[in-house]
Amino acid sequence: MIHPSQTSKNPTLRALLPGDAGAGSGGDGFRKADLAEIDASCRVPVLFFFLSGLAWLIAGSLLALVASIKLHSPGFLAAWEWLVFSNVRTAHLNTVIYGFASQVSVGVSVWLMCRLCRIPLPAPGLVTVANLFYNLGVTVGVGGILLGDSTAIEWLEMPRYATPILFSSYALIAVWTIVTFRLRAERHLYVSQWYLLAAVLWFPWLYGTAQVMLLLEPVRGVVQAAVNWWFAHNVLGLWFTPIGLASIYYFIPKVIGRPIHSYYLSVLGFWSLALFYNWNGMHHLVGGPLPAWMITISIVASVMMLIPVITVAINHHFTMLGHFGKMRHSPTLRFIVFGAVSYTLASLQGIASALRSVSEVTHFTHHTIAHAHLGMYAFFSMVMFGAMYYILPRITQREWPCNGLISLHFWGVALGIVLYVVPMSLMGFIQGTKLNDPTIRFLDVVQFTLPWLQLRTLAGLLMVAGHVAFVANVGWLLVRMFEPYRKPVVRILTGEAETLAAGK
């Protein structure tokens, strides 16, 4: 239970809790809400974030396909000037990063915070307003990019008239998270809450600082590049990674019914990530005109990332030990374990790529693109898919309608991303070696990449097929929400669904 002194001083905050959830139990603080009650309170706001995120995922996937085809067939859609490669590729990045990944991660964070704080979702209006602002910001931003208004700053391409809208949304989510944390009915913090709290506070700071230093009062010269990569790398490490790891630390134990292997290791992993990650960005500028000490410190910090990465890998592996067979039956576990393994691989690849000797070969090649997809898709997006497979049936109180679509989704995206990352990583190394050889003509290097780029389009098609299957299954699930409740053949809610339906 929450400490009495913490709640009794906050009658205004208490009023934000729905129903009688703010009522104290014998002066000890708030009562702990049932999980089904928490899930029901999250239904509308979390659904909003998930559905709008999935709409952006489909848009982003189509943009990715167009960009990928244009790389080996430049005449494709050449008559449409707003679909020129530079626009499409940039719009793809911004739709999947800000439209899909960020929105779904906020939905997952909101649900996790409520469950771990053991309270129904407070101030749902605040979350819904944040969602509306968010979608408005992404629409204006991506529309601006397609109209040629890109800022040309990597990961911050949205025009400056869109970013204050997005910043407002991030700030609202941060405020909501702090309010929820203050209202918690469970005094102790689980490691997932450490990660979530840190992420929602780090990101507005990162985003706001980068906006000021690059767009509002731009710094000059190479400092722009330094700020740019400080931001771009920390978006991955201090926004997506903490939310991904928070989800893994929650869902693996929940699905297999076993606590994490070592709680101490999980806390060590969090604090070492917080200490080392934010120094990493400068390793993208190896060979650039920056002071050598800045890049060297960044490389050292990148290597120090072995500490959080290995602690997380050990913890996940030993938690799963003896339970890998459950992946055959749980869609959540399939996606989450795939994502957890990919986190380790992406981190090790990133650490290796930070070294000067490796970076001199892989920089400016498709190896970097493969690495970005290993981190953002094979790790983060797969974890978010897994989380949605767990959360959606609980907040809608309906079972997944079609197991075949779940399998199609998993195998489509899993095979697709493997077919994307492995050949592209290999090709990047060869491409880099050729580029560093002055006896090889640049055009020959470009022609060498063509078959590999065609393979990449095939991989993209597999992923798009998986996305369509998932969206179809989600749509079907929503249709079922409006039908009368029927007892499903297999229940994943272990009694909760039946109890709630009977009470309606």
């Binding site: 913090l189 134990p253 929940k254 019914g257 806390v267 039956h329």
Partner: protein, 61 residues
């Protein structure tokens, strides 16, 4: 450049201070004690330890 100075100063002073405060708060409120108990927080009476959830695939629908 007052805005940038403010941001840089904030990054150098306020963020490490916030991290130190969070560590101190965690230690003083017992967040690092009883790790075995804290590891059980995702579970409760309706979804207890030892019960697998989400086992839906491999069954005919």
């Amino acid at each position: 450049m007052p805005v940038i100075s403010f941001i840089l100063l904030g990054s150098v002073v306020l963020l490490p201070a916030a991290a130190l405060w969070a560590l101190r708060w965690a230690a003083s409120t017992g967040q690092f004690r009883c790790p075995d108990k804290v590891a059980l927080l995702p579970f409760d009476e309706s979804e207890p330890v030892g019960v697998a959830t989400d086992q839906i695939l491999g069954n005919r629908r």
